[in-house]
């Protein structure tokens, strides 16, 4: 199927996708979350008619608009990069993967784009009611867009509702409902949107804290903080709950990713969760070392979270790579053998079909069907290739969880001192509050790294490695476009941050002005 591939090219293509996604992911969570909060502020203005709430709404809307533009710019690349850099993937799964992207355009992007114009420019052009309706439509449209892109992403993590067609040598959809209601899609969507609301709350708290420290726009800042802290606290609870669901799905369907997230090399019954730890960079798969040079664990919790049973067995990386007959886990080397049989028989089937040799075609097809579950493993050359980068996945996961634990405490503190009306006196909290947006961004990036790096080497879990998914391009070509995008996105990011800082410095219009 694929005789030679250029690993350097694949790595450049990976780097380019990571670059685009990381830039895109600066802006998207803010868009997803802040649109709800703006809609809430707008609703208060609609109900009270207060100019202060109107100015507050318009101020956050301005910052949203600056952010939204660059989110759109980075987003278009992601869609088309599937075609430019991953064209084999696009052909092999376009039957399934293309549908959510098209639906995203029809249902979400048009809603967002149409009502975006009313939300920003409709203050004196449409009725107040329709204007408010438009603001809510932008929030709904943005989040609907997240639904469909996460359905597509979840399918790559757990490919359901599909069948491999040996005649076309591609994956074809046979159950749309299964694709849409894939449990991973549900947990991904709820986790992403709730964490985006949390991030937007941190964004508002950071800017409002700065105003309070500077003694400017204090009334607006207090109001913004109050709403954001409540939103943030409620979101934090959802983030925790949906994060648990997401991790459970990972444990059930991507055990290698879970093992990497926890740095667990040797499986355990009653496995503990690592509260703090450090990956041992000298660890080699199969040696006697533990994998973590330092760790603090809570016994039984990982088993409980992964299998809903505190005494259950959680496989480690080495169990999954080399197999564990006691727990009926097939090793990767066995899977590679079966995968290679599947590939050989697929090739034989196609040749026999072309030559009109029905008997040979039937025999090859039977052998292929018996081994097709391991198709993707046939492209691997050694079992260790099935292991994702453990250090990066482990550190990203633990950073995300640690930050996710701190954020609700921050929201509680802001709420408590707001309620006591002593927020302005808590300089330590306000100073800490100003950097919260950056911590929120790190948490989001970490989550993305866990999800995407943790599933390597697969483009589609167990079925298609990234080495096969790529386009037939030279490494130099992809490296050139990597740097083109890096320079352009960095330039635009500098402009965005500069504009944003100036707008924050200008601040909202005051009623008394």
């Amino acid at each position: 199927m694929i005789e030679n591939f250029d690993l350097t090219m694949v790595n450049w293509a990976r780097a380019q996708f990571a670059l685009t996604a990381l830039y895109h992911w600066i802006f998207v969570p803010l868009t997803l979350g802040i649109t709800w909060i703006i809609a809430f502020y707008h609703t208060i203005y609609y109900r009270t008619g207060s100019e202060e709430w109107k100015n507050l709404t318009r101020f956050w809307m301005t910052l949203f608009g600056i952010n939204f533009a660059i989110g759109v710019a980075t987003g278009i690349i992601l869609e088309f990069e599937f075609g430019t850099n991953w064209s084999n993937y696009s052909w092999m799964v376009g039957d399934i993967f293309g549908a959510p992207l098209a639906i995203e355009g029809i249902f979400a992007f048009f809603l967002e784009a149409t009502f975006f114009a009313v939300m920003f420019f409709g203050w004196n052009r449409v009725s107040k009611k329709f204007h408010l309706f438009s603001t809510w439509m932008v929030a709904i449209g943005s989040n609907l867009s997240a639904v469909w892109i996460l359905v597509a992403n979840a399918w790559m993590q757990r490919p359901v509702g599909q069948v491999f067609n040996p005649d076309s040598a591609r994956f074809e959809m046979n159950n749309f409902a299964e694709v849409v209601f894939n449990p991973i899609a549900v947990s991904k969507f709820t986790h992403t949107t709730s964490s985006s609301m949390l991030f937007a709350s941190l964004f508002i708290i950071s800017i409002s804290s700065w105003y309070l420290l500077k003694g400017r726009h204090e009334k607006m800042a207090r109001r913004s903080i109050m709403v954001a802290a409540v939103f943030g606290l409620v979101s934090s609870a959802f983030v925790g709950f949906t994060g648990d669901e997401a991790a459970y799905e990972v444990a059930q369907h991507q055990p290698m990713k879970l093992a990497a997230m926890e740095g667990l090399y040797k499986g355990e019954e009653g496995a503990g969760i690592v509260l703090m730890g450090m990956v041992d960079s000298d660890k080699k798969i199969g040696d006697d070392q533990d994998g973590l040079s330092f760790k603090i664990k809570i016994p039984g919790i990982l088993s409980l979270l992964a299998n809903r049973s505190s005494g259950s067995f959680v496989p480690g990386i080495e169990d999954l790579v080399y197999g564990n007959p006691d727990h009926k886990i097939m090793g990767v080397d066995d899977k590679i053998v079966k995968g290679k049989i599947a590939l050989t028989q697929l090739d034989a089937y196609k040749k026999a079909s072309k030559n009109g040799d029905t008997a040979a075609a039937t025999a090859a097809l039977t052998m292929f069907q018996a081994n097709k579950e391991y198709l993707g493993y046939g492209f691997l050359t050694k079992p260790e290739e099935a292991v994702p980068p453990v250090g990066l996945t482990f550190n990203a996961f633990h950073l995300m969880v640690a930050l996710g634990t701190v954020f609700p405490l921050v929201f509680l503190a802001f709420l408590y001192f707001s309620w006591k009306d002593t927020l302005k006196e808590q300089k330590w909290l306000l100073k800490g509050g100003t950097v919260m947006v950056f911590l929120g961004l790190f948490a989001h990036w970490s989550g993305w790294i866990v999800a995407e790096v943790g599933r390597q080497p697969w483009a589609i879990q167990d079925l298609l490695p990234v080495t096969v998914a790529r386009t037939n391009l030279t490494a130099g070509t992809v490296a050139t476009t990597f740097f083109m995008f890096l320079i352009l996105f960095t330039l635009l990011l500098i402009a965005e941050v500069s504009i944003m800082l100036r707008q924050i410095n200008i601040g909202p219009k005051e009623v008394s002005e």
């Binding site: 430019t84 039957d95 098209a102 052009r125 040598a169």
Partner: protein
């Protein structure tokens, strides 16, 4: 009735339907390129910062619709014709990367161009808009031209693409035929842009600007004519890419003329489209009418439908390979399965609702024209 049709339609019927729906999206995109065309008018037709600001704020309320249509067009092609998506984007790499590049710089330019501390300055962002309006549209035009002239690719037995030109798609821009289609689109977009601005702006206080836009409409239309004529004169006698009875691809002289004759709807659409485009231009240039955009816009959609129809219907390979005829893509060998097309057809039932609310919001927002007074009104809302 509709449900029955969707569930019982043959694969070929669904493939035809989806080529039509993709053609509608593509043709709407050609109309919505009035945004790109309008952007290019900022450079010379607008003489003052105020006039440039009027253009930016008028088009700024619509640019996202064009952008969304482009993204949805791509998504629909991905879902309905994944082999085309994979072959074209993975093969003609540099063309698509450059097109995307011009749309990235467009997406930020409206929002950032007049904001304080925008680092690059208003002139740079206006130049970005100019690049998007000229290069983006030109390259999309040349890419569409390859539907008729063919591209340099082969497909393996697993349908993985190998591009045989090191220019990875840029070679299409060296074909006079492809280039003429691209240039026609650029000038047509400029004419549409001028007509849209005439329709959307209240010129009280800047009457001379309206006159310049009316003149520009006529000039750009006249500039577009030789390229359109060249395209039409070349395409009719051209050796087209036909699909034989067994699915093999072969070259057929006068193929696209035959398509016009054998599918009269395409010929009618072309003639009606051209008449409507001309009517819109004449109304704008020779009278005080402001509605030229609707006539020329609809005309552009009809001409677009003809172009896409000629490429894909009547047993024609819509993405032909010049180096290996049998690698050419047709709506039959490049499409998704029956099941996926059925699912997508259910989804497509929502398109009329989408068009309805887009049209309603368009009407609502444009019922009050963009004016100089609005530009300087601090309470007017967001400004570009």
């Amino acid at each position: 009735m509709i449900a029955y049709w969707i569930q019982t339609a043959s694969h070929a019927q669904l493939q035809g339907l989806w080529w039509f729906l993709c053609s509608v999206l593509g043709s709407l995109l050609l109309f919505l390129f009035f945004v790109q065309g309008g952007q290019t008018l900022m450079a010379r037709v607008a003489k003052t910062a105020e006039e440039r600001s009027l253009i930016a704020n008028s088009l700024g309320r619509k640019w996202e619709l064009t952008f969304t249509t482009l993204v949805t067009f791509g998504g629909a092609l991905f879902a309905a014709f994944p082999k085309f998506y994979a072959t074209s984007f993975g093969g003609a790499y540099w063309v698509w990367v450059l097109i995307l590049f011009t749309f990235i710089i467009q997406a930020v330019s409206y929002e950032y161009r007049s904001k304080p501390a925008n680092v690059l300055g208003t002139k740079t962002f206006d130049t970005f808009l100019l690049i998007n309006g000229v290069v983006g549209v030109l390259l999309i035009g040349t890419a569409v031209g390859t539907f008729f002239t063919g591209s340099n690719f082969t497909l393996s037995s697993y349908n993985f693409v190998t591009w045989t030109s090191s220019l990875r798609g840029l070679e299409a821009a060296f074909s006079l035929f492809n280039l003429s289609l691209g240039l026609f689109l650029v000038f047509n977009s400029r004419a549409l842009g001028a007509m849209y601005l005439i329709n959307n702006i209240d010129f009280k206080g800047v009457e001379e600007f309206e006159e310049r836009l009316r003149t520009s409409t006529l000039k750009n239309f006249l500039w577009s004519l030789p390229f359109l004529a060249w395209f039409l004169l070349q395409i009719l006698p051209m050796d087209g890419f036909a699909i034989g009875e067994n699915g093999e691809i072969y070259r057929q002289t006068w193929k696209y003329l035959f398509n016009l004759v054998e599918v009269p709807a395409l010929a009618l659409s072309l003639v009606a489209g051209l008449i409507l485009v001309i009517t819109g231009v004449v109304l704008t240039a020779k009278t005080e009418a402001k509605c030229g955009i609707w006539s020329s816009g609809l005309g552009t959609v009809l001409v677009g439908l003809t172009v896409f129809g000629l490429a894909g219907f009547n047993n024609t390979a819509f993405y032909p390979s010049k180096v290996d005829l049998q690698s050419s893509l047709t709506i039959y060998n490049a499409s998704s399965t029956v099941y996926t097309l059925q699912v997508m057809t259910w989804v497509a039932l929502a398109i009329p609702c989408v068009l309805a609310y887009v049209a309603y919001v368009w009407w609502l927002m444009d019922s009050k024209k963009m004016s100089v007074a609005e530009l300087s009104n601090p309470d007017a809302g967001h400004m570009y």
